[in-house]
């Protein structure tokens, strides 16, 4: 690999043998409800805490993906997962249930593509066959931890985003049929000095732009190589800013192919401020909606640029700004 490059090219093109998406009640009323494998009417999933509900959802996404591939847990060689909870308990407790060799990740909302990139690296280098990548978030759990318990009913500015209650999983193998993971661009941390936790999209936009630039530079590729380029969860405000910044840097992505998972997931009339967010946003939209469209033949080549805000409530209280990152993964039919 060339010095200075940050993109992995997967020559063996690991196949996404199966994928699954699980969502909550708000997602079941959303624009992409038809692309979820399981939708829950009860945001608690019958559990006695929202954290346990998130874990349950993540387990269901993993089990569904394994089941759809016609496999059993024992067939999965490695499990990579990340989420937003302190000490990523959703992932680690789901890993306990799965009982599969496990690598815990944290890249905030970019964890989805961090996991897919590393899973593809493992399969591509023959370090493992049947590798499962997953990510999740839960609206109530995240609001309680990062902002206020949702029961407080605190108001939010229009720049805020709605954390997706959802989990997504993808099972990768060297052999089989399905969309193929062809490359991954690992992002750098970018911090433009913003510190408002109610305006994550704006903070994350420059990180998305940095990674998209690196992707096209490393691969000597033009945006029109793709049928669709989707940022993870910038929302309406952040996505607009990312588009403007890319334009300034001379990267012209046609508006028709440039979208954002956080904009797509909910309907216009849902009160989600600037759009959806959370690890579960890019995970469910990619592993549900986009892969379904690829399997139907509607999309041939897509680039998912999952963005993450790497702050904690404590770093915010200590007046730190928000370091952001984005990892991009290309998937081709």
């Amino acid at each position: 690999m060339l010095q200075g490059h940050q993109t992995w090219v997967f020559k063996a093109e690991p196949v996404i043998r199966s994928s699954a998406a699980v969502g909550g009640p708000f997602e079941s009323k959303g624009a992409l409800a038809g692309d979820f494998d399981i939708l829950h009417e009860d945001v608690w999933l019958g559990q006695d805490s929202c954290e346990k509900a998130e874990k349950k959802m993540l387990e269901q996404a993993c089990e569904k993906a394994i089941d759809k591939a016609g496999m059993k847990k024992e067939d999965v060689q490695f499990f990579l997962s990340g989420d937003l909870m302190n000490q990523i308990i959703s992932s680690s407790f789901a890993a306990r249930t799965l009982g599969v060799p496990y690598l815990g990740l944290f890249g905030a909302c970019s964890s989805s593509m961090e996991g897919l990139a590393l899973a593809a690296l493992i399969v591509n280098s023959k370090a493992g066959e049947n590798t499962l990548a997953a990510a999740s978030s839960h609206n109530v759990a995240v609001e309680k931890q990062f902002r206020y318990p949702s029961e407080y009913g605190s108001q939010k500015p229009p720049t805020a985003q709605w954390t997706v209650t959802g989990a997504g999983a993808a099972l990768l193998s060297l052999n089989g049929e399905g969309p193929r993971v062809t490359s991954a661009t690992i992002g750098r941390v970018i911090d433009m000095g913003l510190s408002d936790p109610f305006n994550m999209g704006t903070a994350m936009a420059p990180a998305a732009v940095d990674t998209i630039q690196a992707h096209f530079r490393d691969l000597k590729r033009e945006p029109n190589y793709y049928d669709l380029i989707a940022t993870g969860d910038l929302g309406r405000i952040g996505h607009k800013i990312a588009g403007d910044l890319l334009d300034k840097h001379g990267i012209k992505i046609p508006p028709a192919i440039f979208t954002d998972c956080g904009i797509l997931i909910y309907k216009e009339d849902q009160p989600v401020m600037a759009g959806g967010s959370g690890c579960g946003c890019s995970a469910t939209v990619t592993y549900g909606h986009f892969l379904n469209r690829m399997r139907k033949g509607e999309l041939k080549r897509i680039l998912i640029v999952a963005t993450g805000a790497l702050m904690s409530p404590l770093s915010y209280q200590q007046k730190e700004t928000i370091p952001c990152i984005a990892h991009a993964v290309s998937i081709e039919m």
Copy 2:
């Protein structure tokens, strides 16, 4: 790779070009003080919070390792790091300073070897050259987050461990001279139903045993292949239990080569209860002490089995037991 195997064999044998260890005042009075590159008399490192002190320490370990390899930040292609803080802020904020493509990890105290394993995979598969793996912990920051602020002076049982204030980093390349990373065994989550956060060593011991068993099974290797087998931070109580469990499973590791980073790092007369712990424990003891011994020719083949307790204060409050994991990495001269 064979189905059911959880061990990666690195045929290209990535070289640890350089490594560095940074410690605090308590470590400077410890048994391995001579193996640290930087020791701080001030546990705050002149920062206004213990979290910022941890970040600073991690940055110093990374910078020192890069410097010792005769490189610059720009020469590092990927940075992998993990720590115990919520949302691994120490790692992510250090990644902001480094400005290198970054993969955030969380495996609690196993993060050190999780990072080394993945860095070796990246270098071995030529997905990157000059890859930096690091991990850190800070006594004051960890006590405040997981138990009580140390200023409270709360008493602890003899099974408790002392979180190491330290950071370690290792720089891997395909070429160069130095100890080589030859294999890595990725652990499964093991939970024997223990829930006492003041007795982590006992909770983690079965995970260490499970990974050690898998390592020898996958590689068809006997313990005497190694000059030294070190668990991460089981401490005196957990290490004894691990030895007994291995014995029961028919794996006889000679006591002379079986040790624990948490036992080695402090002196007998330091009030550390059962021993040291934290990501910084296995990271500093491995990247400082053990690698120094290898470079001096005292050790030829070592196996580091870093253990992690994947709980959070919240999972404990919700009466969950402690899921544990261990990742093992072999290093040979």
